[in-house]
Amino acid sequence: MPRARRLQGWLLALPAAVWLLLFFALPILILGAYSLMPRGIYGGVERGFTLEHYRRFFDPLYLAILLRTVVAALACTVICLLLGYPVAYAIARAGKWKNLLLFLVVLPFWTSVLVRTFAMIFLLRDTGLINTLLISTGIIAKPLTLLYTSGAVMAGLVYTFLPFMVLPIYASLEKHDRTLLEAAAVLGARPARGFLRVTLPLSAPGVVAGSLLVFIPALGSFLPSDLLGGAKEVLIGNLVQNQFTAARNWPFGSAASFVVMFGVLVGVAIYLRGGPDAGTRTRDL
């Protein structure tokens, strides 16, 4: 039985493993090799071996960019959690409205990200909808500077990643039996207490998954800072993007990505080994 089970598990994992190895790990390894080679003048790399690109990255200029990126991604994750958890909770409890609400959360993402970003520009700019409304109602006299600020960048980041938080939390909340809460209530627990003691711990795996799905891609995003921040700041995503285009420095772009990827993988390993792992740990039959 254990051997058969092991084989079964292995077979279940095999197709995805092959796909990821062939079409993800392998190409990434090629770029990993590039990060150790001299820059090719027309893009790509030249023959040779160098640690120059990694050395270059550990320069205050680039480390400051890295730090700013991590702070922004963390802030984005926290805001998404604050905005997304109640939404996920409401959807999971919404009964017959469940599908409709779920759909309303993902619908905006079926338009191009660029189009959505431009729509936000319409909203935020000096003569945009928000300023026009505030001025016409007499709340303010002169337009507020909303566009091309760090607030606009954060709004764009949150806008981009919110469903990545809502969907996993919803998936983990939805399975919980309402009867548990009711049992708690019968036993005299007030709703707030029932939520803290029952619902929240049960949804922990969803929160963990959602945080990862938001934090990690947010580290690499570049459109919000370019278009809503007015490109007056550089995040890691912009830096990497630039290395593969205008700067034509593939190895440096690869090296920068690899530093971030390594940091994230180590961080995730530590994060998952901590508390919430209790929820995801495998029990063997």
Partner: protein, 371 residues
């Protein structure tokens, strides 16, 4: 369209020439290291594809977005019966990476000058059969022929050219502007933008101090960085294409912008004018090329011949707002003569490839952005 490091070689100094020669050499070694990419590259130079004979039924064009006449494709399809597949890209680097990958299926691509140099060095484009183009070739303005990246126009058919300057809301800005220095004027704080493009911004500040916009001299770059950082607090943002709507709305009064985009904005608000700064600015030339392994070389030549016609060339420039290298088109429609005007063109300098110095430029750019 992002004009990131668009370059057309012209007026090259000897230093530039040596540099480009050495870059060509290192390109081939870069490619051999990328054995991955060289695997599907044709091995020999090969003869030019024949441009005459019955046309193939399909033609695949790969062009910058929003960079063709309104009816160019439809007219060509109707006239020749060839079915056109049209895809777009956003930077020369996208194009180069795609062609290096081999089997893309494109028959016509539109690289900028420096990208032509790269594509030739990598043997990714093939010679053109000029005998198939004799009818219309004379329409081209000789000033745009024989650029150093292709001295005999063996590989390229000039398509469109452009420049950058100041797009000014003349109804909102009272003083008359004529210098890149306007961005350092705190009186216009928050009403100005510069392009989100390393080559354009640093290049403009180099010009401001009377240097070449292809400078690789560290002291000059340091000065440009200082100038750019001094201007930064006055800027609303670094922004490229989307600035047009804000110019029209009056959120932005002075924008560092390309002439074609300015022309498009001007069509909606005639108070927007293009000013070429007295210190000078950049120029680039984009050309039609046929990639190696193109499956429809005869249809590609037919297309080139078609867009060389004065009426077609004029309709392309009317739509894009960019300059036409087609003298016959300009003769037929004087509204296409600038800006920049033919007189102002003496103040323009072709962007060239920066070679190894690209890395230094990139650092300066990152420092400006992080300041």
């Amino acid at each position: 369209m992002s004009h990131q490091s668009r370059v057309a070689g012209r007026g090259l100094s000897r230093r530039d020439f040596l540099e480009s020669a050495s870059s060509a050499l290192s390109a081939s070694s870069a490619l051999s290291a990328l054995s991955a990419l060289s695997a599907c590259r044709p091995k020999d130079g090969g003869p030019p594809a024949s441009g005459s004979g019955p046309l193939e039924r399909e033609l695949a064009i790969y062009n910058w977005s929003d960079y063709i006449g309104e009816t160019t494709i439809a007219d060509f399809e109707r006239e020749t019966g060839v079915r056109v597949t049209y895809d777009t890209y956003e930077s020369n680097e996208d194009l180069i990476a795609k062609l290096q990958a081999g089997a893309t299926g494109y028959d016509i691509v539109v690289p900028s000058g420096y990208a032509v140099r790269v594509l030739r060095a990598l043997d990714l484009i093939q010679p053109i059969d000029r005998s198939a183009l004799t009818g219309q070739w004379a329409n081209l303005d000789p000033r745009f022929l024989g650029t150093p990246v292709d001295p005999d126009n063996q590989f390229t058919v000039p398509w469109q050219w452009g420049s950058a300057g100041l797009a000014v809301r003349t109804d909102l800005v009272k003083e008359s502007l004529d210098s890149w220095g306007v961005f350092q004027d705190p009186g216009l704080r928050g009403k100005m933008t510069q392009l989100d493009d390393m080559r354009d911004v640093i290049g403009a500040w180099l010009k401001f101090r009377g240097h070449s916009l292809n400078s690789i001299i560290t002291a000059e770059l340091e000065q440009a960085r200082a100038d750019a950082i001094q201007a930064k607090p006055n800027l609303k943002s670094y922004v490229s294409a989307p600035v047009k709507a804000q110019l029209i709305a009056g959120d932005v009064w002075v924008a560092h912008l390309w002439n074609g985009d300015t022309a498009q904005a001007r069509a909606a608000n005639p108070a927007i004018e293009f000013v070429l700064p007295k210190e000078g600015s950049m120029i680039y030339l984009d050309s039609l090329c046929i990639p190696r392994g193109a499956r429809s070389p005869r249809a590609a030549h037919a297309f080139m011949n078609f867009v060389l016609r004065a009426d077609q060339a004029a309709s392309i420039s009317r739509r894009t707002g960019y300059g036409s290298p087609n003298a016959a088109a300009l003769a037929a429609d004087a509204s296409l003569l600038g800006p920049p005007t033919p007189q102002e063109m003496t103040r323009l300098e072709y962007q060239d490839d920066l070679g190894a110095a690209t890395t230094e430029w990139d650092r300066v750019w990152t420092e400006i952005k992080s300041a």
